[in-house]
């Protein structure tokens, strides 16, 4: 019975983002008739030829689909890394960007634009500096190793703020006519400009990060007992933490590359997950992934249809998610806690 229930839960968690992605194809300001959408999907997937207006094809296949896929990935990545970090650092107030990866990646991107004046090296630089920021936080955290969790997180806060400052500095020295707009636009981020290429470039690290976190999810339970106990239970804490941090960094950096710095999802979605499925990371981690993806798609779709000029993601995430969180809190009486 238990096994059956578990399977049902996992099936729901797996299917719901797919359903949301599918539904996203039907939503948008431009009217594409339903049968056309289905036909486009069918002929594209079978590599056949679509006898439909070009505009229909490009709206559904080139604009909506990559956006939906990336949206799901981004939401999932932020939520899953947030949940993992919360477990790892035993602090429920920690979120996906806590070790500085977001601002590191942002700075990397700005630097790439500054140096090369083109956008080609952005991803490489963003990942490199995202990783560097995390590494720096890690080094600071290791200065004193009795309560490394707090120090690591504080290290992250410091590194993060230094990189944010460096971003401002990069903007300061950038050429206001070509580099600055590129930096600003990149930092603002937007799923709106998602392309299939982005899935290829940012999607792979995101997928690797997600896969890693899903695989190691039970270890996070054990790690959340604290370093000392985790070691005595047979965990190579340095290694396991390293893997969790690396995977979460990959996932978050990928998400930041696609959609800029979105803070909320990586903190609150895991808590919504806790209220719904409890704290066991075996379920919480996939649940966060799935919830994050669905939530992001929901918000993105809302943003696309409410007005023509796309309400920025950050606005809706909080305005839709905040009350939902409070509702859940009331309903479960803070069940997770």
């Amino acid at each position: 019975m238990y096994a059956v229930r578990k399977k049902t839960i996992y099936a729901i968690l797996l299917l719901s983002p797919l359903v949301f992605i599918f539904l996203s194809l039907f939503i948008g300001r431009y009217h594409v008739p339903l049968p056309a959408i289905v036909e486009i999907l069918w002929c594209k997937l079978t590599l056949g030829y679509c006898n439909l207006p070009d505009t229909y094809v490009s709206v559904v296949w080139d604009i909506r689909l990559p956006r939906a896929i990336l949206g799901a990935l981004v939401g999932g990545c932020l939520a899953i890394s947030g949940a993992s970090f919360q477990g790892l650092f035993r602090n429920p107030l920690v979120s996906s960007g806590i070790l500085g990866v977001s601002s590191g990646a942002g700075f990397g991107a700005a630097l790439a634009i500054l140096i090369f004046s083109t956008t080609s090296y952005i991803y490489v630089f963003a990942f490199f500096f995202g990783g560097l920021a995390v590494l720096m936080s890690y080094m600071i955290g290791r200065v004193y190793n009795t309560t490394p969790a707090i120090m690591l997180v504080l290290g992250g806060v410091i590194v993060s703020s230094v990189f944010s400052a460096l971003i401002s500095f990069a903007k300061y020295v950038a050429d206001p006519y070509d580099q600055l707009p590129a930096i600003v636009f990149w930092l603002m981020g937007s799923l709106a400009s998602a392309r299939f290429q982005d899935i290829a470039v940012a999607g792979i690290p995101m997928a690797v990060g997600i896969a890693g976190l899903l695989a190691i999810r039970w270890r996070i339970n054990v790690l959340s007992m604290g370093d000392k106990e985790a070691r005595s239970l047979g965990i190579n804490t340095a290694l396991s933490k390293g893997i969790v941090i690396s995977c979460a960094t990959l996932a978050t950096a990928g998400a930041v590359c696609v959609s800029g710095i979105i803070g909320w999802v990586g903190l609150v979605i895991p808590h919504i997950g806790r209220m719904l499925v409890g704290n066991d990371n075996r379920v919480l981690i996939p649940a966060s992934l799935s919830l994050g993806a669905c939530f992001m798609l929901l918000v993105d779709n809302l943003g696309r249809v409410i007005t023509g000029s796309e309400i920025p993601l950050g606005i809706l995430t909080a305005i839709v998610g905040g009350p939902f969180f409070v509702y859940l809190l009331k309903k479960t009486k803070g069940g997770g806690w």
């Binding site: 000392k228 965990i235 396991s240």
Partner: protein
């Protein structure tokens, strides 16, 4: 070869030593009780044996190999640990906590298998907490929480158990259950145990159950005495160790057997 051996071990947090020059060895099926005043360094010593703190000097050998060279999961398949204090964070269920005892047998990228769940449930049954298995462990009473920690260590299925005051917070019934479980496990599986305790009576209990028991009195940064309980736990030694008056009494139990007990009477001012 002894299961575990400490050679000339020393440790200190800062400049000051907590203990130095401690050596002992334990074979299969033996119990080693460490008795000493609060703050004498028992917990610290156990932490160094586990490799959680690094010795300043000396070595810890498990089955002849140095613990510094062993990987955590190798150590955890040899030694299970019941910590003195545990600070709770997320409200995991009791079963989930006990299941963590299986970490050493679970690959880094996998979750515990069904066999592991069975083992965890057996361990819970041993300490008598089956009925609480799906309760958040943050909502347990003090004693129940302690039993969960014991169950987790039992689920680790190791040849050596290190226990730091395992019966603190336990009632008579559970204290006896734990002691009896230990005796049974030693008889059945040849388990060995290192135990820090404030109850010399535990040592008598084990001796009485025909288990090879040693007692070490820890004081002045080292083991002042090591030996059989009957020899070591004497009124004089306790007076030296704690500066108290104590009485050793014998009482007849069930089948004509005798159980020795030490009873603290008063401090010496």
């Amino acid at each position: 070869m002894s299961l575990i051996e400490l050679k000339d071990a020393s440790f200190g947090y800062n400049q000051q030593d907590i203990f130095k020059g401690i050596s002992f060895k334990i074979g299969k099926g033996e119990i080693f009780c460490i008795i000493g005043p609060n703050g004498c360094g028992k917990t610290t010593l156990l932490d160094t044996i586990l490799g959680i703190l690094k010795l300043r000097q000396g070595d810890v050998l498990i089955n002849g190999s140095n613990i510094q060279k062993m990987r955590p999961h190798e150590i955890a398949r040899q030694i299970a640990y019941i910590p003195q204090a545990h600070s709770k964070t997320f409200p995991y269920t009791v079963l989930d906590v006990v299941l963590m005892g299986r970490a050493a047998y679970t690959g880094i990228f996998s979750s515990p298998a069904d066999e592991d769940v069975v083992i965890a449930e057996e361990a819970l049954a041993l300490v008598g907490l089956t009925r609480l298995k799906s309760r958040p462990y943050t909502q347990l009473s003090g004693g129940e929480g302690q039993l969960v920690m014991i169950a987790r260590a039992l689920a680790q299925k190791t040849p050596l158990l290190i226990m730091d005051e395992p019966t603190a917070h336990l009632d008579f019934k559970h204290e006896l259950t734990v002691l009896e479980t230990i005796v049974q496990l030693i008889n059945d599986t040849n388990l060995s145990i290192i135990m820090a305790t404030h109850f010399p009576n535990h040592a008598f209990y084990f001796e009485n159950n025909n288990i090879k028991t040693s007692v070490a009195l820890m004081d002045q940064k080292t083991f002042s005495q090591v030996g059989r309980p009957a020899d070591i736990i004497s009124e004089e030694n306790l007076m030296m160790l704690y500066n108290i008056n104590a009485k050793v009494v014998s009482c007849h139990i069930g089948s004509g057997a005798e159980l020795k007990q030490i009873i603290p009477i008063s401090t010496i001012s």
